[in-house]
């Protein structure tokens, strides 16, 4: 079975600074996707970024980018120029065959003035 591990329960960052959230996963599949979702207090899960395992190039979406290390099974999220609106719970998720999402336990990100 696939597992997703987020070892940082909480992270803090100063506004306008850069922060990196860590995620590792375990799988025996070769074809899979990885995602970062953001969940603000409203509880709505919002897709931040996704990475296809067969692509070597790291995905980027504006201020958000990933560092995907397939051999190490590592998938970290970098947020540049952090904004107050980035404060939320961030979940790393894995989708293999069948498109079932397996989530990590989340990292609570706080953005300080």
């Amino acid at each position: 079975a696939q597992t997703v591990t987020q070892s940082q329960p909480e992270m803090s960052v100063q506004e306008a600074e850069t922060v990196t959230l860590s995620c590792t996963y375990d799988t025996s599949e070769s074809d899979y996707y990885l995602f970062w979702y953001k969940q603000p207090p409203s509880r709505q899960m919002i897709l931040v970024i996704r990475q296809e395992a067969y692509k070597q190039q790291n995905a980027t979406e504006n201020r958000f980018s990933v560092n995907f290390q397939k051999a190490a099974k590592s998938f970290s999220l970098k947020i540049s120029d952090s904004q107050l609106g980035d404060a939320a719970m961030y979940f790393c998720a894995y989708a293999g065959g069948g498109n079932k999402l397996t989530f990590g336990t989340g990292t609570q990100l706080k953005v300080e003035l």
């Binding site: 979702y37 509880r43 709505q44 989708a95 069948g98 999402l101």
Partner: protein, 117 residues
């Protein structure tokens, strides 16, 4: 484009009562998912539908939980009878189709927060 709709947003019931949640996916999305998110944890898949058929219900507690998607659009998740440990947020998500190749992004609704007393 309208997103995934869920109702009610909040529900408080006593243990042993029954409760039902409703989900309307994004128009045209064939695949629908129900997740349970207990406080402090990531969401866990309960059941996955492709059109009106069940693809995966391996983690659905079938002695008390049931779900249906009769016409391949809206879906209802029911709990009967509820237990204290069912207190959680129930998230509905949809994706365009069940992919044999590329994984389809799942889009989530706002969730239903259930409190069982």
């Amino acid at each position: 484009e309208a997103g995934v709709a869920q109702s009610p947003r909040y529900k408080i019931i006593e243990k042993r009562q029954s409760v039902a949640f409703w989900c309307n996916p994004i128009s045209g999305h064939a695949t629908l998912y129900w997740y349970q998110q207990i406080l402090g944890q990531g969401p866990k898949l309960l059941i996955q539908f492709q059109n009106n058929g069940v693809v995966d219900d391996s983690q659905l507690p079938k002695d008390r939980f049931s779900a249906e998607r009769l016409k391949g659009v809206d879906s209802t998740l029911k709990i009967q009878p509820a237990k204290l440990e069912d207190s959680a947020v129930y998230l509905c998500a949809s994706s365009l189709r069940l992919a044999g190749g590329p994984r389809e992004t799942q889009y989530f609704g706002p969730g239903t927060r259930l409190l069982v007393l």
